[in-house]
């Protein structure tokens, strides 16, 4: 089972975001947002840690901790840009919260 699946155009969008910010490095998929709506997944530029699972998709290197992968399963990333709603949408094969896929996120640099 792949770690990450990208919707068409997402790889290019991530590469562009990183290039615009002048940032290099793998993109971590991690738990970023908590609160009483359940946690959700987000993206951040980070380094590779020893125990990380690593996968390159569409010329973007993704890393994810084994714990997060075990919790969420395969992560699917899409991109929206409509009516003021702009950013990446992360869903997972095992949703980690009931609002899975509802919010958008940007890449934390």
């Amino acid at each position: 089972m792949p770690l990450v699946t990208l919707e068409p155009g997402v790889g290019q969008a991530i590469r562009s975001s990183l290039a615009e910010a002048g940032v290099h490095g793998p993109v971590r998929i991690e738990i970023q947002f908590s609160g009483c709506c359940d946690p959700s997944l987000g993206l951040m530029v980070d380094k590779v840690r020893e125990s990380d699972l690593v996968e390159e998709v569409d010329a973007v290197t993704f890393v994810i901790s084994p714990e997060t992968h075990e919790l969420a399963g395969e992560v699917r990333i899409s991109r929206v840009d409509e009516g003021g709603r702009e950013g990446f949408v992360l869903t997972s094969s095992r949703p980690i919260g009931e609002w899975d896929g509802f919010s958008t996120c940007r890449i934390r640099m």
């Binding site: 009483c36 359940d38 946690p39 997060t68 919790l71």
Partner: protein, 885 residues
């Protein structure tokens, strides 16, 4: 396992697609109930039911007493289900039973208390007694009406209480609501629905649809039939909801995340502070949005404090939530447990020092449960992610600081602003810090204290709007202003689109008790008593005091006079009003007696307002019709016969800083009584006698020409003109002619009444301008420009001016109306010449080169709108100034 269904349109139903999900006991990790899972079709059905119910008006149309009676039954039905609700709350949310029973009891009390409050104190309808608009009087009131269909999205940490935070205000204020409880904790909202049904709340008013937010959120938050969204949850989801709501401009209240600071001061009771720091963080396993998860501790006591927190945290008993001896139960889900572990790992990577906890806890017999030890990180930098992001678990960051200012700065260094605490034995110091922290709630020497009458909500990214209390009720209403005019009259209401600006409706409100004639000063003793007063302060100016007039009044007041304040200058300014007000306050005056000309009387009006309402004069300046109750009683004894201020609604006060004359205009400042005793004007010098008379004449003539003029106004104005025409030459010839002096006083008062009804016009605008820019005495400026303005207006006020001519003694027989009107202007000039009034602006120091600037100022004066002839071109005003020059 128990089975629960959706509650839509008053019925418990399966999901349209038959889907269900399991509710998990977080203390064991095992399912204990199945629940119908709403899909899009169910969400739409619930919204439609709520829409129908609202539009039918069976609930929103009930009067508040009837609605409250049903809601009291609802509260009783909740109480009857108390044990079942407490159990469901524990099993769903992992709340300890000792906590859940309080929360459920509160839910029942809350709706009872809020409903009673709404029925007895909430302003569903509110009169606006002073509208601020002097041109369109009438009844102004607002109604707070329900918004319509509300959507309440409830989180999993307090499923009963937070459902009730939405259901109670929505229903009390007449809305209908669709509640989407969290998928982790759907049960108690459905039990509330049972209670609502049993209480007789009409079908469709309350609907409950458990289901995943990710799938239902878009339908619910973008549906055109949803009018308001009330959401409690994470900032991330709240931000998205706000975006979605914007498409159809739904009202939103958002109660979002927090990272609150609990500030321990060095003078705190340390036993209390340690307990407060742990209670603020570890209650309900830290799954409370306002938890004090950043504990700020002074460097000098830091190590000892952390040590004591560690001991206290390690003494907390973690166990199954249904065990009444447990202090802490499980976190709500395995995903939340993983989140806590993720952040603890992150904290260690960031270099924070793990003091205690940082691991799961095994509870014997409950091995599948999601238990986590209370965890303390020390030496945390506020920039670390564990100090900036919401963890929503039993994890606290203890942060050092070195000064009160630094503590406040750290507390405010967050995207959130939900709550916080300060612990100190010095309440004043603690409150100073609490005021500096930018959050919606601050507790001093306490934490997690809620009450249904106290608001809750966030600053910054912690939310929008407030829940609970009157603030929470207001969020579920929309304000409708209703205006019912004095006049249902085309000319009064819609003259802006008409060529005929004349307004034939009028309001005659001249409540001053006038006592006139030789020796009428004696009446003041009784007037003070009639006004319910015993402590009158006399305001006057140095000249009047020197003439002995203020002492005459003092003697007539006998024991009722508490003092004489004689420092009112010509053209009184804010400072002089404040000085007089301070004296009145010091002397505990309950009545002001103004003895003097227009300046003293105007200052007295401003003192009465400031004395009544507190603060300084500047608080009340440049305000129109904003006073809603009687002011400090005011008796005036005019010593001039000109301004008519004894009966008018205006007071002119100078703001030296702004370099402008400003005003209060309000019917509430009309003096209560005026004493027209001619002895008080006998000593007035000739030039002031003439100047003030021309002011009065201009009031009367302009009021008569005004677009607001009416028969009552005309009656006052024309008789005032006649009295001035006949008596001014007499008092100029003999200042001691007491009968003529009294007639001049009466004329000034009647002219004052006339322009209180109908306002003044262009002559006053032009006189105000040269008075301000070139210090020309007001009466003199009025007299010089008045005949010119009368000629300018002649084709718009010919009939009025023809009668003015007659009042001025002109024999108009055989004249055309227009010629008679023009003769009125000639007669004014003749009168001026007869009494030695200056005739040209150049005679009173106005340079010709400045007439252009004067024109631009004059046309911007408010009174221009009442002039008989529309004044739209500054060149026309310039031409009049040239004629007057």
């Amino acid at each position: 396992m128990e089975q629960y269904k959706l509650f839509i349109d008053g019925e418990f139903v399966d999901a349209a697609d038959g889907k269900t999900f399991e509710s998990i006991d977080p203390g064991t990790g095992l399912p204990f109930a199945t629940v119908a899972q709403a899909g899009t079709a169910d969400a739409e059905a619930a919204i439609a039911a709520a829409r129908r119910a609202f539009d039918k008006g069976e609930w929103s149309g009930l009067d508040i007493a009837a609605r409250i009676a049903i809601l009291q039954d609802f509260a009783d039905e909740i109480s009857q289900r108390g044990v079942r609700m407490v159990t469901a709350e524990c099993m769903d949310a992992g709340q300890t039973i000792s906590y859940a029973k309080i929360i459920v009891m509160w839910a029942s009390l809350m709706i009872r208390n809020l409903a009673t409050y709404a029925a007895t104190k909430f302003q569903f309808e509110e009169e606006i007694l002073a509208s601020g608009n002097p041109f369109s009087p009438g009844r102004e009131f607002v109604r707070r009406e329900p918004i319509g269909v509300c959507l309440g999205i409830v989180p999993w940490n307090f499923p009963t209480a937070l459902a009730m935070w939405k259901i109670a205000p929505a229903l009390i204020t007449g809305n209908t609501i669709v509640v989407k409880p969290a998928s982790n904790t759907p049960l108690t909202a459905l039990i509330l629905a049972e209670a609502a049904k049993a209480a007789g709340i009409p079908n469709g008013v309350l609907n409950v649809i458990p289901g995943p937010g990710g799938a239902l959120g878009r339908t619910l938050c973008t549906h055109p039939d949803v009018d308001k969204i009330a959401f409690t949850g994470s900032t991330e989801v709240g931000r998205e909801i706000m975006r979605m709501a914007s498409d159809t401009v739904k009202k939103v209240t958002l109660e979002l995340g927090g990272k609150s600071a609990n500030i321990i001061l060095d003078d705190a009771d340390m036993d209390l502070a340690v307990e407060g720091a742990c209670f603020g963080t570890f209650l309900h396993q830290g799954q409370i949005c306002e938890s004090g998860t950043r504990v700020l501790v002074p460097s000098k006591i830091y190590d000892g404090f952390v040590d004591r927190m560690k001991k206290r945290a390690e003494a907390l008993r973690i166990g199954y939530q249904m065990d009444p001896t447990s202090h802490m139960g499980p976190v709500v889900s395995k995903e939340q447990l993983a989140t806590v572990e993720h952040y603890v790992k992150l904290g260690k990577e960031e270099g924070a020092e793990l003091i205690t906890g940082g691991q799961r806890v095994e509870v014997p017999g409950r091995e599948g449960g999601y238990y986590y030890a209370p965890t303390i990180f020390a030496n945390v930098d506020n920039k670390m992610r564990i100090a900036q992001e919401e963890i929503f678990g039993p994890v606290v960051c203890v942060i050092k600081y070195d000064s009160d200012e630094e503590a406040v700065a750290i507390a405010n260094d967050s995207i959130y602003g939900l709550a916080g605490g300060v612990f100190s034995t010095n309440i004043a110091r603690a409150e100073r810090l609490a005021r500096g922290v930018r959050t919606g709630t601050m507790w001093i020497n306490n934490y997690h204290v809620f009450a249904e009458y106290c608001p809750f909500g966030g600053y910054k990214q912690s939310g929008v709007g407030r829940e609970l209390g009157r603030w929470g009720l207001e969020e579920y209403t929309q304000v409708k202003r209703i205006h019912v005019p004095y006049f249902s009259n085309r000319s009064a209401n819609f003259s802006l689109l008409s060529d005929n600006k004349k307004i034939d409706s009028f309001n005659y409100n001249c409540p001053t008790n006038i006592v006139g004639g030789h020796g009428s000063l004696s009446s003041i003793y009784k007037l003070v008593v009639d006004l319910g007063c015993r402590r009158a302060l006399i305001l006057t100016d140095p000249g009047v005091r020197k003439a002995g007039l203020a002492d005459l009044v003092k003697n007539s007041l006998v024991d009722f006079c508490v003092g004489i304040y004689d420092d009112i200058p010509q053209d009184p300014d804010l400072e002089s009003v404040d000085g007089a007000t301070a004296a009145a306050r010091e002397l505990k005056a309950d009545c002001i007696v103004s003895v003097g000309g227009g300046s003293v009387i105007d200052a007295g009006k401003a003192v009465c307002v400031t004395l009544k309402n507190g603060g300084k004069a500047n608080d009340y300046i440049n305000r129109w019709h904003t006073l809603s109750e009687p002011q400090t009683p005011h008796i005036v004894v005019p010593t001039t016969a000109g301004t008519g201020s004894e009966v008018t609604t205006a007071a002119v006060i100078t703001n030296k800083t702004a370099g402008r004359k400003l005003f209060i205009a309000d019917p509430r400042i009309i003096p209560n009584a005026a004493i027209l005793d001619p002895r008080f004007t006998m000593t007035l010098p000739k030039n002031m006698t003439v100047g003030s008379a021309m002011d009065a004449l201009t009031h009367a003539v302009e009021a008569s020409m005004s677009i607001m003029a009416n028969q009552i106004c005309d009656g006052q104005a024309l008789h005032a003109i006649r009295l001035i025409s006949e008596n001014l030459p007499l008092v100029v010839a003999d200042g001691n002619n007491e009968k003529a002096r009294l007639n001049m006083q009466i004329a000034a008062t009647m002219a004052g009444w006339s322009f209180t009804i109908a306002q003044v016009g262009l002559a006053h605008c032009m006189a105000h301008t040269v008075g301000t820019l070139h210090h020309v005495p007001h009466g003199a400026a009025c007299g010089i420009v008045l005949p010119k303005v009368m000629r300018f207006n002649v084709d718009h006020a010919a009939a009025k001016l023809a009668r003015v001519a007659q009042a001025l003694g002109v024999d108009t027989s055989g004249m055309t109306e227009r010629d008679a009107a023009l003769a009125a202007a000639d007669a004014v000039e003749a009168l001026m010449e007869k009494v030695g009034h200056p005739m040209r602006l150049r005679d009173v120091g106005v340079p010709e080169a400045d007439l252009g600037r004067c024109s631009l100022h004059a046309i911007a004066d408010t009174n221009v709108i009442f002039n008989a002839r529309p004044v739209n071109d500054p060149m026309e005003v310039y031409a009049i100034y040239q004629q007057a020059h």
